[in-house]
């Protein structure tokens, strides 16, 4: 079964989240090596958790599409949650790269 447009969009957002989180993890690994502060350790743990979560989500989008295919409300909810996460990660990237 082909993926619906909403689920395709959600999968694309999850991939973009992964792409954005990789440099953030890189920056915070480097900064942790320099500063060893709890703040950076926390940010790093947060980014790694988000990275894993999005990677798992991408896997699920492709392996369990029939699970999502049934209900358009589920698809919509998944897309909204992915979008919100994307906005949050873009904001975090912006402040971190300044």
């Amino acid at each position: 079964m082909a993926m619906g447009p909403m689920i395709t969009a959600a999968a694309v957002l999850a991939v973009l989240n992964v792409v954005l989180l990789l440099p953030l993890v890189g920056i915070w690994v480097r900064n942790y090596a320099t500063f060893r502060t709890g703040l950076v350790a926390g940010l790093l743990a947060f980014a790694v958790a988000m990275l894993v979560e999005n990677a798992v989500a991408v896997y699920f989008f492709f392996s369990m599409q029939s699970f999502y295919a049934g209900d358009p409300h589920v698809q919509q909810a998944v897309l909204i949650l992915r979008s919100l996460q994307f906005v949050a990660i873009v904001g975090l990237s912006y402040t971190t790269l300044r």
Partner: protein, 92 residues
């Protein structure tokens, strides 16, 4: 100021260089060119960092357009302990 220092120095991409800039300015006021030479960082990068540091009231600059000197603010001096705590781990 305290939280701004933590985020600006330890969480951002340019944080380590900004900490080195503050360290250099603790010795004496310098202009962007001197800072660039001293830290071996590009002039434009230094100007960007100075903009951020000025925005957060950590440094202030003289009025001249040419080679204006940057000073640490009195407000920053009140938080020097926080700064020392942050850079404790940094070598040299």
């Amino acid at each position: 100021m305290e939280k701004a220092l933590w985020y600006l120095l330890t969480a951002t991409r340019g944080g380590a260089n900004r900490a080195r800039i503050i360290d250099a300015l603790s010795e004496r006021p310098m202009n962007a060119n001197e800072l660039a030479d001293r830290l071996d960082v590009g002039y434009k990068t230094i100007r960007h960092h100075m903009e951020q540091l000025e925005k957060h009231d950590i440094v202030e600059s003289g009025d001249e357009d040419y080679a204006k000197l940057y000073f640490l603010t009195d407000r920053f001096d009140n938080y020097r302990d926080t700064f020392e705590e942050i850079v404790e781990q940094m070598d040299a």
